[in-house]
Protein backbone atom coordinates (compact mmCIF):
# COMPACT_ATOMS: atom_id res chain seq x y z
CA UNK A 1 0.00 0.00 0.00
CA UNK A 2 2.94 2.33 0.64
CA UNK A 3 4.72 1.31 -2.56
CA UNK A 4 7.44 -0.80 -0.97
CA UNK A 5 6.42 -4.14 -2.42
CA UNK A 6 4.53 -4.41 -5.71
CA UNK A 7 0.86 -5.26 -5.11
CA UNK A 8 -0.33 -8.81 -5.83
CA UNK A 9 -3.86 -7.72 -6.59
CA UNK A 10 -6.39 -5.03 -5.93
CA UNK A 11 -6.36 -1.30 -6.39
CA UNK A 12 -5.97 1.72 -4.16
CA UNK A 13 -8.77 4.26 -4.29
CA UNK A 14 -8.17 7.62 -2.62
CA UNK A 15 -11.12 10.01 -2.34
CA UNK A 16 -12.80 8.18 -5.22
CA UNK A 17 -9.75 8.30 -7.51
CA UNK A 18 -7.68 5.21 -8.29
CA UNK A 19 -4.03 5.83 -7.32
CA UNK A 20 -0.87 4.32 -8.85
CA UNK A 21 1.71 3.91 -6.12
CA UNK A 22 5.09 2.49 -7.07
CA UNK A 23 7.35 3.92 -4.36
CA UNK A 24 7.16 5.56 -0.94
CA UNK A 25 7.70 8.92 -2.68
CA UNK A 26 4.53 8.28 -4.77
CA UNK A 27 2.62 7.40 -1.63
CA UNK A 28 3.69 10.65 0.04
CA UNK A 29 2.67 12.60 -3.05
CA UNK A 30 -0.78 11.00 -2.74
CA UNK A 31 -1.03 12.04 0.89
CA UNK A 32 -0.32 8.70 2.50
CA UNK A 33 1.98 8.47 5.50
CA UNK A 34 3.45 5.34 7.06
CA UNK A 35 4.91 5.14 10.55
CA UNK A 36 6.77 1.83 10.51
CA UNK A 37 6.77 -0.80 13.20
CA UNK A 38 10.45 -0.95 14.07
CA UNK A 39 11.41 2.67 14.64
CA UNK A 40 15.11 1.98 15.16
CA UNK A 41 15.38 -0.03 11.97
CA UNK A 42 13.06 1.93 9.71
CA UNK A 43 11.78 4.99 11.57
CA UNK A 44 14.09 7.62 12.97
CA UNK A 45 17.58 8.37 11.63
CA UNK A 46 19.43 8.25 14.94
CA UNK A 47 22.48 10.27 13.85
CA UNK A 48 20.52 13.19 12.46
CA UNK A 49 19.09 15.98 14.65
CA UNK A 50 15.43 15.88 15.63
CA UNK A 51 14.67 18.77 13.29
CA UNK A 52 16.18 16.92 10.33
CA UNK A 53 14.20 13.80 11.21
CA UNK A 54 10.94 15.71 11.33
CA UNK A 55 11.53 17.52 8.03
CA UNK A 56 12.86 14.44 6.20
CA UNK A 57 9.62 13.69 4.34
CA UNK A 58 8.67 17.30 3.75
CA UNK A 59 12.01 18.81 2.75
CA UNK A 60 10.31 20.69 -0.07
CA UNK A 61 8.22 22.49 2.54
CA UNK A 62 11.28 23.93 4.29
CA UNK A 63 13.44 24.48 1.21
CA UNK A 64 13.41 26.50 -1.99
CA UNK A 65 15.08 25.08 -5.11
CA UNK A 66 16.62 22.38 -2.95
CA UNK A 67 18.13 24.88 -0.50
CA UNK A 68 17.11 24.13 3.08
CA UNK A 69 16.04 27.11 5.19
CA UNK A 70 17.45 26.18 8.61
CA UNK A 71 15.30 28.62 10.57
CA UNK A 72 12.13 27.46 8.85
CA UNK A 73 13.09 23.83 9.43
CA UNK A 74 13.67 24.43 13.14
CA UNK A 75 10.37 26.30 13.40
CA UNK A 76 8.50 23.43 11.73
CA UNK A 77 10.19 20.92 14.03
CA UNK A 78 9.55 23.03 17.12
CA UNK A 79 5.87 23.25 16.22
CA UNK A 80 5.53 19.45 16.22
CA UNK A 81 7.80 18.97 19.21
CA UNK A 82 5.45 21.25 21.17
CA UNK A 83 2.29 19.73 19.77
CA UNK A 84 3.35 16.13 20.47
CA UNK A 85 5.15 17.07 23.66
CA UNK A 86 8.46 15.47 22.67
CA UNK A 87 10.73 15.71 25.70
CA UNK A 88 13.96 17.25 24.43
CA UNK A 89 16.05 20.30 25.31
CA UNK A 90 16.45 21.28 21.65
CA UNK A 91 15.39 20.28 18.13
CA UNK A 92 19.07 20.18 17.18
CA UNK A 93 19.77 17.27 19.54
CA UNK A 94 20.42 13.93 17.79
CA UNK A 95 17.32 11.75 17.59
CA UNK A 96 19.36 8.92 19.11
CA UNK A 97 19.45 10.76 22.45
CA UNK A 98 15.68 10.44 22.92
CA UNK A 99 13.75 7.72 24.77
CA UNK A 100 11.78 5.17 22.78
CA UNK A 101 8.44 6.90 23.24
CA UNK A 102 9.86 10.26 22.19
CA UNK A 103 11.59 8.70 19.16
CA UNK A 104 8.21 7.31 18.18
CA UNK A 105 6.70 10.78 18.52
CA UNK A 106 9.43 12.14 16.24
CA UNK A 107 8.62 9.44 13.66
CA UNK A 108 4.97 10.43 13.94
CA UNK A 109 5.83 14.14 13.69
CA UNK A 110 7.66 13.51 10.40
CA UNK A 111 4.42 12.25 8.90
CA UNK A 112 2.18 14.86 10.42
CA UNK A 113 4.48 17.46 8.83
CA UNK A 114 3.59 16.03 5.39
CA UNK A 115 -0.07 16.74 6.19
CA UNK A 116 -1.31 13.33 5.07
CA UNK A 117 -4.88 12.33 4.22
CA UNK A 118 -4.25 8.75 5.24
CA UNK A 119 -1.85 7.76 8.00
CA UNK A 120 -0.80 4.16 8.44
CA UNK A 121 0.57 3.37 11.89
CA UNK A 122 2.27 0.02 12.29
CA UNK A 123 2.29 -1.08 15.93
CA UNK A 124 2.53 2.56 17.05
CA UNK A 125 2.90 1.86 20.74
CA UNK A 126 5.10 -1.22 20.76
CA UNK A 127 7.96 -0.82 23.23
CA UNK A 128 6.73 2.62 24.30
CA UNK A 129 6.31 3.58 27.97
CA UNK A 130 2.79 3.88 29.39
CA UNK A 131 2.72 7.68 29.53
CA UNK A 132 3.82 8.14 25.90
CA UNK A 133 1.43 5.38 24.89
CA UNK A 134 -1.66 7.16 26.12
CA UNK A 135 -0.32 10.40 24.65
CA UNK A 136 0.09 8.73 21.26
CA UNK A 137 -3.44 7.34 21.56
CA UNK A 138 -4.94 10.74 22.28
CA UNK A 139 -2.96 12.28 19.38
CA UNK A 140 -4.45 9.61 17.09
CA UNK A 141 -7.93 10.43 18.35
CA UNK A 142 -7.41 14.15 17.71
CA UNK A 143 -6.14 13.46 14.20
CA UNK A 144 -9.07 11.19 13.38
CA UNK A 145 -11.46 13.80 14.75
CA UNK A 146 -9.86 16.40 12.48
CA UNK A 147 -10.68 14.25 9.46
CA UNK A 148 -7.55 12.21 8.87
CA UNK A 149 -8.05 8.55 7.98
CA UNK A 150 -5.93 6.44 10.29
CA UNK A 151 -5.06 2.82 9.66
CA UNK A 152 -3.59 1.30 12.78
CA UNK A 153 -1.89 -2.07 12.57
CA UNK A 154 -1.74 -3.62 16.01
CA UNK A 155 -1.45 -7.01 17.61
CA UNK A 156 -2.47 -5.66 20.97
CA UNK A 157 -6.15 -6.45 21.51
CA UNK A 158 -7.07 -3.84 24.15
CA UNK A 159 -5.53 -1.18 21.91
CA UNK A 160 -7.47 -2.45 18.89
CA UNK A 161 -10.72 -2.51 20.83
CA UNK A 162 -10.15 0.87 22.41
CA UNK A 163 -9.13 2.79 19.30
CA UNK A 164 -10.93 1.38 16.30
CA UNK A 165 -14.07 2.38 14.45
CA UNK A 166 -13.71 -0.60 12.17
CA UNK A 167 -11.60 -3.71 12.73
CA UNK A 168 -10.20 -5.82 9.91
CA UNK A 169 -8.81 -9.09 11.16
CA UNK A 170 -5.94 -10.52 9.12
CA UNK A 171 -4.84 -14.11 9.15
CA UNK A 172 -1.76 -15.33 7.24
CA UNK A 173 -1.80 -12.36 4.90
CA UNK A 174 -5.48 -12.36 3.98
CA UNK A 175 -8.44 -10.56 5.49
CA UNK A 176 -10.34 -13.02 7.66
CA UNK A 177 -13.19 -10.74 8.58
CA UNK A 178 -14.46 -7.25 9.29
CA UNK A 179 -16.15 -6.06 12.46
CA UNK A 180 -17.74 -2.75 13.33
CA UNK A 181 -16.94 -1.03 16.59
CA UNK A 182 -20.21 -2.25 18.10
CA UNK A 183 -19.62 -5.88 17.12
CA UNK A 184 -15.98 -6.07 18.00
CA UNK A 185 -15.14 -8.06 21.07
CA UNK A 186 -11.96 -9.76 22.11
CA UNK A 187 -13.59 -13.13 21.51
CA UNK A 188 -14.82 -12.40 17.99
CA UNK A 189 -11.47 -11.01 16.91
CA UNK A 190 -9.61 -14.01 18.25
CA UNK A 191 -12.04 -16.40 16.59
CA UNK A 192 -11.44 -14.75 13.23
CA UNK A 193 -7.70 -14.60 13.73
CA UNK A 194 -7.51 -18.24 14.65
CA UNK A 195 -9.91 -19.29 11.88
CA UNK A 196 -12.86 -20.55 13.93
CA UNK A 197 -16.43 -19.95 12.84
CA UNK A 198 -17.98 -16.89 14.49
Amino acid sequence: MFGLTPPDAGEIVLSGEPAQIGSPADAIAHGIGYVPEDRRQHGVVLELPIAANISLSSLDRVSRHGLIDGAEEDALAQQYVDRLRVKTPSVSAAAGTLSGGNQQKVALARWLATDPKVLILDEPTQGVDVGSKSEIHSIMMDLAASGMAIVMISSELPEVLGMSDRVMVMKSGTIAGELSRAEATQEKILNLALGHAV
Binding site: L46, L56, G66, I68, T97, R110
Partner: protein
Amino acid sequence: MRRYGRELSVAASILLLALVLAFLAPGYFSGENLADLFLANMPVLLIALGMTMVILTGQIDISVGSMFAVCGIVAGALAKLGLPILAAGAGAIVAGIAMGAVNGALVAYVRMPSIVVTLATMVALRDGLRWATQGAWVSDLPPDFQWLGLSQEVYPILIACTAIAFAAAIAWGLRNLAGGRAVYATGSNASAALLAGIDTSFYTFTVFAITGALAGLAAVLNSVRFNQIPSNAGLGLEMKVIAAVVVGGTAITGGSGSIAGTVLGVILLGAIGPALTFLGVSAYWERALQGAIILAAVVAEAIRERAEKQVVSRA
Protein backbone atom coordinates in the same frame (compact mmCIF):
# COMPACT_ATOMS: atom_id res chain seq x y z
CA MET B 1 25.09 14.93 14.79
CA ARG B 2 28.40 14.98 16.50
CA ARG B 3 30.26 18.21 17.01
CA TYR B 4 33.72 19.01 15.80
CA GLY B 5 35.75 16.64 18.02
CA ARG B 6 37.56 14.81 15.25
CA GLU B 7 38.22 17.91 13.17
CA LEU B 8 39.81 19.56 16.21
CA SER B 9 42.04 16.62 17.05
CA VAL B 10 43.27 16.32 13.45
CA ALA B 11 43.85 20.08 13.34
CA ALA B 12 45.79 19.82 16.61
CA SER B 13 47.94 17.03 15.13
CA ILE B 14 48.73 19.19 12.11
CA LEU B 15 49.61 22.10 14.37
CA LEU B 16 51.89 19.89 16.48
CA LEU B 17 53.62 18.60 13.36
CA ALA B 18 54.05 22.20 12.14
CA LEU B 19 55.55 23.26 15.47
CA VAL B 20 58.04 20.40 15.49
CA LEU B 21 59.01 21.22 11.91
CA ALA B 22 59.31 24.94 12.65
CA PHE B 23 61.92 24.19 15.30
CA LEU B 24 63.79 21.28 13.74
CA ALA B 25 63.43 21.85 10.00
CA PRO B 26 62.28 25.37 9.13
CA GLY B 27 63.22 24.67 5.50
CA TYR B 28 59.98 22.67 5.28
CA PHE B 29 58.04 25.92 5.12
CA SER B 30 59.79 27.29 2.04
CA GLY B 31 57.30 28.41 -0.58
CA GLU B 32 58.72 25.95 -3.04
CA ASN B 33 58.28 22.95 -0.77
CA LEU B 34 54.77 23.90 0.24
CA ALA B 35 53.77 24.44 -3.38
CA ASP B 36 55.23 21.04 -4.31
CA LEU B 37 53.39 19.46 -1.43
CA PHE B 38 50.13 21.05 -2.47
CA LEU B 39 50.45 20.07 -6.12
CA ALA B 40 51.32 16.49 -5.21
CA ASN B 41 48.31 16.15 -2.92
CA MET B 42 45.79 18.05 -5.01
CA PRO B 43 44.50 14.88 -6.76
CA VAL B 44 44.08 13.19 -3.38
CA LEU B 45 42.10 16.19 -2.11
CA LEU B 46 39.76 16.48 -5.10
CA ILE B 47 38.97 12.76 -5.17
CA ALA B 48 38.63 12.64 -1.37
CA LEU B 49 35.79 15.19 -1.65
CA GLY B 50 33.84 12.70 -3.76
CA MET B 51 34.93 9.75 -1.64
CA THR B 52 33.60 11.52 1.47
CA MET B 53 30.15 11.57 -0.10
CA VAL B 54 30.43 7.93 -1.22
CA ILE B 55 31.42 6.86 2.31
CA LEU B 56 28.69 9.08 3.83
CA THR B 57 26.10 7.07 1.88
CA GLY B 58 27.61 3.92 3.39
CA GLN B 59 29.45 2.82 0.24
CA ILE B 60 33.08 2.72 -0.89
CA ASP B 61 34.83 3.29 -4.23
CA ILE B 62 38.22 1.64 -4.64
CA SER B 63 38.33 2.17 -8.41
CA VAL B 64 39.33 5.86 -8.15
CA GLY B 65 43.03 5.20 -8.83
CA SER B 66 42.19 3.34 -12.05
CA MET B 67 39.69 6.00 -13.14
CA PHE B 68 42.38 8.62 -12.50
CA ALA B 69 44.81 6.74 -14.80
CA VAL B 70 42.23 6.27 -17.57
CA CYS B 71 41.15 9.93 -17.46
CA GLY B 72 44.76 11.14 -17.67
CA ILE B 73 45.36 9.05 -20.79
CA VAL B 74 42.05 10.18 -22.31
CA ALA B 75 43.01 13.84 -21.76
CA GLY B 76 46.42 13.28 -23.36
CA ALA B 77 45.05 11.30 -26.30
CA LEU B 78 42.38 13.92 -27.05
CA ALA B 79 44.96 16.72 -26.83
CA LYS B 80 47.17 14.87 -29.32
CA LEU B 81 44.21 14.62 -31.70
CA GLY B 82 44.42 18.40 -31.84
CA LEU B 83 41.61 19.30 -29.47
CA PRO B 84 42.15 22.45 -27.42
CA ILE B 85 43.12 21.71 -23.84
CA LEU B 86 39.74 22.71 -22.43
CA ALA B 87 37.92 20.31 -24.73
CA ALA B 88 40.41 17.53 -23.98
CA GLY B 89 39.94 18.19 -20.27
CA ALA B 90 36.18 18.15 -20.58
CA GLY B 91 36.41 14.84 -22.48
CA ALA B 92 38.43 13.32 -19.65
CA ILE B 93 35.88 14.50 -17.09
CA VAL B 94 33.04 13.03 -19.15
CA ALA B 95 34.97 9.74 -19.22
CA GLY B 96 35.23 9.97 -15.42
CA ILE B 97 31.49 10.58 -15.08
CA ALA B 98 30.76 7.62 -17.34
CA MET B 99 32.96 5.28 -15.28
CA GLY B 100 31.53 6.60 -12.02
CA ALA B 101 28.02 6.16 -13.39
CA VAL B 102 28.71 2.50 -14.19
CA ASN B 103 29.88 1.98 -10.59
CA GLY B 104 26.87 3.88 -9.29
CA ALA B 105 24.34 2.04 -11.44
CA LEU B 106 25.68 -1.36 -10.44
CA VAL B 107 25.63 -0.43 -6.74
CA ALA B 108 22.38 1.55 -6.59
CA TYR B 109 20.17 -0.19 -9.12
CA VAL B 110 21.61 -3.69 -9.56
CA ARG B 111 22.18 -3.66 -5.79
CA MET B 112 25.62 -5.21 -5.75
CA PRO B 113 28.00 -4.48 -2.85
CA SER B 114 30.14 -1.44 -3.71
CA ILE B 115 33.36 -3.11 -2.58
CA VAL B 116 32.84 -5.90 -5.12
CA VAL B 117 31.70 -3.60 -7.94
CA THR B 118 34.58 -1.15 -7.57
CA LEU B 119 37.15 -3.90 -7.05
CA ALA B 120 36.01 -5.33 -10.38
CA THR B 121 36.07 -1.96 -12.17
CA MET B 122 39.41 -1.12 -10.56
CA VAL B 123 41.00 -4.24 -12.06
CA ALA B 124 39.10 -4.05 -15.34
CA LEU B 125 39.98 -0.40 -15.98
CA ARG B 126 43.61 -0.83 -14.92
CA ASP B 127 44.19 -3.86 -17.12
CA GLY B 128 42.04 -2.50 -19.92
CA LEU B 129 44.26 0.58 -19.96
CA ARG B 130 47.40 -1.54 -19.96
CA TRP B 131 46.05 -3.48 -22.93
CA ALA B 132 44.94 -0.34 -24.80
CA THR B 133 48.21 1.54 -24.33
CA GLN B 134 50.47 -1.51 -24.35
CA GLY B 135 52.03 0.13 -21.35
CA ALA B 136 53.24 3.09 -23.43
CA TRP B 137 53.14 6.57 -21.95
CA VAL B 138 51.54 9.43 -23.82
CA SER B 139 54.28 11.85 -24.85
CA ASP B 140 54.90 14.57 -27.44
CA LEU B 141 51.97 16.49 -26.06
CA PRO B 142 51.05 19.79 -27.74
CA PRO B 143 52.74 22.80 -26.11
CA ASP B 144 49.49 24.36 -24.88
CA PHE B 145 48.80 21.19 -22.87
CA GLN B 146 51.54 22.04 -20.40
CA TRP B 147 50.18 24.00 -17.42
CA LEU B 148 46.87 24.30 -19.29
CA GLY B 149 48.63 26.78 -21.54
CA LEU B 150 49.23 29.05 -18.57
CA SER B 151 52.51 30.04 -17.03
CA GLN B 152 54.06 27.84 -14.39
CA GLU B 153 53.40 30.57 -11.82
CA VAL B 154 49.73 31.14 -12.57
CA TYR B 155 48.82 27.46 -12.77
CA PRO B 156 49.22 26.58 -9.04
CA ILE B 157 47.11 29.58 -8.08
CA LEU B 158 44.41 28.47 -10.49
CA ILE B 159 44.23 24.94 -9.17
CA ALA B 160 44.40 26.11 -5.55
CA CYS B 161 41.32 28.21 -6.24
CA THR B 162 39.67 25.26 -8.00
CA ALA B 163 40.31 22.90 -5.09
CA ILE B 164 39.11 25.42 -2.50
CA ALA B 165 36.01 26.21 -4.57
CA PHE B 166 35.10 22.53 -4.90
CA ALA B 167 35.71 21.79 -1.21
CA ALA B 168 33.64 24.80 -0.14
CA ALA B 169 30.84 24.04 -2.59
CA ILE B 170 30.52 20.40 -1.54
CA ALA B 171 30.76 21.24 2.17
CA TRP B 172 28.07 23.88 1.74
CA GLY B 173 25.87 21.59 -0.33
CA LEU B 174 26.03 18.71 2.12
CA ARG B 175 24.97 21.06 4.88
CA ASN B 176 22.36 23.20 3.14
CA LEU B 177 20.87 21.31 0.23
CA ALA B 178 18.03 18.82 0.48
CA GLY B 179 20.26 16.48 -1.55
CA GLY B 180 23.02 16.75 1.06
CA ARG B 181 20.56 15.86 3.80
CA ALA B 182 19.48 12.88 1.72
CA VAL B 183 23.11 11.70 1.46
CA TYR B 184 23.47 11.68 5.26
CA ALA B 185 20.08 10.04 5.79
CA THR B 186 20.85 7.34 3.21
CA GLY B 187 24.10 6.41 4.92
CA SER B 188 22.76 6.67 8.44
CA ASN B 189 19.62 4.57 7.95
CA ALA B 190 18.88 3.57 4.37
CA SER B 191 15.54 1.91 5.04
CA ALA B 192 14.25 4.80 7.14
CA ALA B 193 15.36 7.22 4.41
CA LEU B 194 13.56 5.14 1.77
CA LEU B 195 10.39 4.99 3.87
CA ALA B 196 10.61 8.75 4.36
CA GLY B 197 10.28 9.09 0.60
CA ILE B 198 13.95 9.70 -0.25
CA ASP B 199 15.17 8.17 -3.51
CA THR B 200 18.18 6.53 -1.89
CA SER B 201 19.20 4.76 -5.11
CA PHE B 202 19.38 8.04 -6.99
CA TYR B 203 21.64 9.65 -4.39
CA THR B 204 23.88 6.60 -4.21
CA PHE B 205 24.19 6.62 -8.00
CA THR B 206 24.89 10.35 -8.04
CA VAL B 207 27.72 10.33 -5.49
CA PHE B 208 29.53 7.66 -7.52
CA ALA B 209 29.11 9.71 -10.71
CA ILE B 210 30.40 12.85 -8.96
CA THR B 211 33.40 10.91 -7.67
CA GLY B 212 34.13 9.80 -11.24
CA ALA B 213 33.93 13.42 -12.39
CA LEU B 214 36.34 14.53 -9.65
CA ALA B 215 38.75 11.72 -10.56
CA GLY B 216 38.64 13.04 -14.13
CA LEU B 217 39.24 16.63 -13.05
CA ALA B 218 42.10 15.58 -10.78
CA ALA B 219 43.67 13.58 -13.61
CA VAL B 220 43.52 16.53 -16.03
CA LEU B 221 44.93 19.03 -13.53
CA ASN B 222 47.68 16.59 -12.57
CA SER B 223 48.73 15.44 -16.04
CA VAL B 224 49.40 18.95 -17.31
CA ARG B 225 52.25 19.22 -14.80
CA PHE B 226 54.40 16.75 -16.73
CA ASN B 227 55.40 16.34 -20.34
CA GLN B 228 54.40 12.69 -20.38
CA ILE B 229 51.31 10.95 -19.09
CA PRO B 230 52.05 7.57 -17.51
CA SER B 231 49.68 4.71 -18.24
CA ASN B 232 50.11 3.45 -14.69
CA ALA B 233 49.22 6.66 -12.85
CA GLY B 234 47.29 6.61 -9.60
CA LEU B 235 48.51 3.24 -8.32
CA GLY B 236 47.49 3.06 -4.67
CA LEU B 237 45.70 6.40 -4.91
CA GLU B 238 42.46 4.85 -3.61
CA MET B 239 44.18 3.94 -0.35
CA LYS B 240 45.54 7.45 0.18
CA VAL B 241 42.10 8.89 -0.49
CA ILE B 242 40.18 6.49 1.75
CA ALA B 243 42.77 6.92 4.51
CA ALA B 244 42.43 10.71 4.41
CA VAL B 245 38.63 10.50 4.58
CA VAL B 246 38.70 8.05 7.49
CA VAL B 247 41.36 10.00 9.39
CA GLY B 248 39.21 13.09 8.83
CA GLY B 249 36.49 11.46 10.89
CA THR B 250 33.97 10.20 8.34
CA ALA B 251 32.47 7.00 9.72
CA ILE B 252 33.23 4.10 7.38
CA THR B 253 29.73 2.80 8.20
CA GLY B 254 28.20 5.96 6.69
CA GLY B 255 25.95 8.75 7.86
CA SER B 256 28.46 10.85 9.75
CA GLY B 257 31.44 12.97 8.74
CA SER B 258 32.36 16.27 7.15
CA ILE B 259 34.28 17.82 4.27
CA ALA B 260 36.27 19.94 6.75
CA GLY B 261 37.47 16.71 8.39
CA THR B 262 38.46 15.26 5.03
CA VAL B 263 40.44 18.37 4.06
CA LEU B 264 42.33 18.16 7.37
CA GLY B 265 42.87 14.44 6.85
CA VAL B 266 44.41 15.07 3.42
CA ILE B 267 46.67 17.77 4.90
CA LEU B 268 47.84 15.58 7.79
CA LEU B 269 48.58 12.48 5.72
CA GLY B 270 50.08 14.51 2.88
CA ALA B 271 52.30 16.59 5.14
CA ILE B 272 53.68 13.82 7.25
CA GLY B 273 55.61 11.88 4.59
CA PRO B 274 57.90 14.69 3.40
CA ALA B 275 58.18 15.88 6.99
CA LEU B 276 59.97 12.65 7.85
CA THR B 277 62.54 13.32 5.16
CA PHE B 278 63.06 16.85 6.47
CA LEU B 279 63.48 15.52 10.00
CA GLY B 280 66.09 13.04 8.80
CA VAL B 281 63.95 9.98 9.42
CA SER B 282 64.14 7.28 6.77
CA ALA B 283 61.32 7.59 4.23
CA TYR B 284 60.68 3.89 4.75
CA TRP B 285 58.83 4.85 7.91
CA GLU B 286 56.34 6.97 6.01
CA ARG B 287 53.83 4.25 5.25
CA ALA B 288 54.18 2.68 8.68
CA LEU B 289 53.44 6.02 10.30
CA GLN B 290 50.48 6.64 7.99
CA GLY B 291 49.18 3.20 8.87
CA ALA B 292 49.50 3.99 12.58
CA ILE B 293 47.54 7.25 12.12
CA ILE B 294 44.76 5.44 10.26
CA LEU B 295 44.62 2.76 12.94
CA ALA B 296 44.44 5.43 15.65
CA ALA B 297 41.57 7.10 13.79
CA VAL B 298 39.64 3.85 13.40
CA VAL B 299 40.15 2.91 17.06
CA ALA B 300 39.02 6.40 18.16
CA GLU B 301 35.94 5.97 16.00
CA ALA B 302 35.11 2.58 17.54
CA ILE B 303 35.52 3.91 21.09
CA ARG B 304 33.37 6.93 20.29
CA GLU B 305 30.67 4.75 18.77
CA ARG B 306 30.59 2.46 21.78
CA ALA B 307 30.34 5.40 24.18
CA GLU B 308 27.51 6.85 22.11
CA LYS B 309 25.61 3.54 22.10
CA GLN B 310 25.77 3.43 25.87
CA VAL B 311 24.35 6.93 26.11
CA VAL B 312 21.52 5.95 23.79
CA SER B 313 20.66 2.73 25.59
CA ARG B 314 20.68 4.45 28.98
CA ALA B 315 18.37 7.19 27.78
